[in-house]
Symmetry: C2
Subunit: 235 residues, 2 copies
Amino acid sequence: MTLFYAPDFTPSQPTLPDDEAHHAFKVLRLAAGAVVNVTDGHGNLHEVKIADADWKKPRLQVLRTQTDFGKRDYRIHMAVAPTKNADRTEWLVEKCVELGVDEISFVACERSERRHFKTDRLEKIAVAAMKQSLKAYLPVVRDMIPFANFVKQTNAAQRFIAYLDEEKKAYLAKAATPGGDYCVLIGPEGDFSPKEVSFARQYGFEPVSLGNSRLRTETAAMAACHIFNIVNERC
Amino acid sequence: MTLFYAPDFTPSQPTLPDDEAHHAFKVLRLAAGAVVNVTDGHGNLHEVKIADADWKKPRLQVLRTQTDFGKRDYRIHMAVAPTKNADRTEWLVEKCVELGVDEISFVACERSERRHFKTDRLEKIAVAAMKQSLKAYLPVVRDMIPFANFVKQTNAAQRFIAYLDEEKKAYLAKAATPGGDYCVLIGPEGDFSPKEVSFARQYGFEPVSLGNSRLRTETAAMAACHIFNIVNERC
């Protein structure tokens, strides 16, 4: 199954953006009669027949539309400090989208080494990962904001902060209950400061551990995202 | 805590290999009096004081030795077809070591795009990830062998094969029981062939799913490894 992303696609106006049309007709060389899938990133999955393969003005015929394709009864919001090495942040976006995530926010922390951060490239990575893993919901990727602002404005029902100190904490796979609206905070390479942890706790973020291993920032984000999915898929 | 890897280290002969000595004394510029940790990759963790910081012939004094450091009562053997893109295989080795794995084998499958494969670089990545995540057991990384040979010679008590077809399969997080000796097979980009699946089943590999998402090879390997760890850390 080949999946294309066309944010403005509707059954009455079935069009592909230029880059997707180029990919379909110039790279994959799809011909008239081929059947492909198109999503708008909002849960709609259209099965589409190519009626005319003119890449500048293709004609597409919608055969079938599934709404709420792959809709889940839980929601994952990942908030993470960008890694020093940009590749590792790109990787975490790709992996969280593959595993299933709804929203990724970036937070600037006291010990963050990265103060400037652009999300343009990450949005492209999220689109590619959505297509590759055959999903019809495009996760939202948000620009970096200060840690305290993020903590104050977040109202997910189940809020967690994962960090490394010696303190005994609940294991996220036990603390998260199925069907939840989750938000988890993952710190920078030097971890959250004690002040940040205490601030988040005031705002109802429960301290959690992600297991016995000391994980890198991007691995921790991916592990937390996977844990939420496992908690829900187990039931 | 800084961790060094010295495979031949013993309390009676406390030496560092040249590359680790160079890193300790030339890069980190550790001086006499500094205390560091050294592992042999076989579960021994030594707390070591630097008595003389001559990098060509350092003198080290063992303060304390912990045996079986971080020893677990389960064992994870990951068998995976190398990805077409070598970076993705390197990434999966790093992430599985961080999350916790004991042995990584590579298998050549019918639909493998990669026929030649060297593990030298992967061993270095495994060492770096072991040090970074403060573990004292170095996972074994094995050269690629044909799929059928691997299947025949593997005798882990809980054997699984993860693949993607429509068939209803058990979810690995439910199928794996705690405290196990696990082996899981993860296929190449084009997945296992039906013949390979049937062959593995004959040898007692249970078909499993890794959840609702279609995952890339390297993400599937990492997800399976994480699931085994979660199954054990939950209990």
